[in-house]
């Protein structure tokens, strides 16, 4: 028969020895630190390569599927709903609508940024509903950004573009 029945309280014990950052720094707790040098080369594949090459020319490219009639961005070589190859490429506008946004105070390593930045999901004009990309918003006070705001891409000068999502510096409010 199992121990205790209803009288026992679980978990039975709280085990584990908490240590602090300080314990590590002062080597109060023994440890080993390793900085491996691991390098990767990530390939972009057909669809994203073409998308990036398009950005270099100042164009936002999407793809269409005749099955579900969606115009998709970011582009892909197959439609994940119809599970078949896409039916062609479409040039989209460099304007869109903010679906949601955040004001970020931290960098990828959770360190504070010198000044907060605005990141948003932008539904691109010419693509189907909810077809958004993530990008930054600029030329506006963070508090003034709202869901539904119309925005336009601000491109880097042509000679500085390298075929990256950062060829668009950020998106700025369309009106005003």
């Amino acid at each position: 028969m199992a121990v205790g029945k209803r009288k026992i309280e679980c978990p039975l014990y709280a085990e584990g020895t908490a240590v602090s950052e300080e314990d590590i720094k002062t080597r109060k707790v023994t440890h080993y630190e390793d900085h491996p040098d691991i390098r990767y080369s990530w390939t972009a594949g057909q669809a994203i390569s073409r998308f990036l090459n398009g950005l270099k020319e100042g164009k936002i490219l999407g793809v269409k599927c005749d099955g579900c009639k969606r115009i998709m961005v970011p582009p892909r070589m197959f439609c994940e709903l119809c599970y078949k190859p896409i039916d062609g490429w479409v040039e989209l506008k460099d304007t869109g609508t903010i679906l949601t946004y955040s004001i970020s105070y931290i960098d990828p390593d959770a360190r504070p940024l010198p000044k907060p930045i605005v990141v948003a999901l932008i539904q691109i004009d010419g693509a189907s509903q909810n077809m958004a990309i993530m990008h930054l918003i600029g030329e506006i006070e963070p508090e003034k950004v709202y869901v539904g705001m119309r925005v336009k891409a601000v491109w880097k000068p042509e000679n500085e573009r390298e075929g990256s999502v950062t060829d668009i510096k950020y998106w700025k409010p369309l009106e005003g």
Binding site: T30, D37, Y40, T43, I48, S49, N53
Partner: protein, 154 residues
Amino acid sequence: MIEKITDPEKLRHWGGKIELYWVYTSGKAGDLFFKKLKADGKFLAAKCKKCCWIYFPPRIYCPKDFSETEYLEVSGEGRVRAFTVARLDPYEKELKKPEIYALIDIDGTNGSIIHLLGEVNAEEVSIGMRVKPVLKPKEQMLGDLTDILYFKPI
């Protein structure tokens, strides 16, 4: 049919590095092991209270029957069970001098450890050879495996 990019120059890639590093705590048994080594230059093993198997390096539990263990001191000396001569480093670069790595069965335990052999040439190493640890000077010890510089023939 969708036209594909065939010019490899137009296919994109991105080179990057995993910019992470890790700090591994030695754990409960490991912490005692390294602290003992650093403080007294002594080696700890752990004996299962049930099956009497002696683990080296020590563990807080016996993975076979999940019983608790008790610590005991051992000399740290042992015998070479197997060895290899490394000519390349972990990034496949030629080492200046080949290094001998051995699997060493530690006396008085059922455990073993992988470490460098020193003060010996590769041609002179043999299976079953008796070896003992050579430690760093106490003030340089960090409380990790590099506190043992290498094992040398007795």
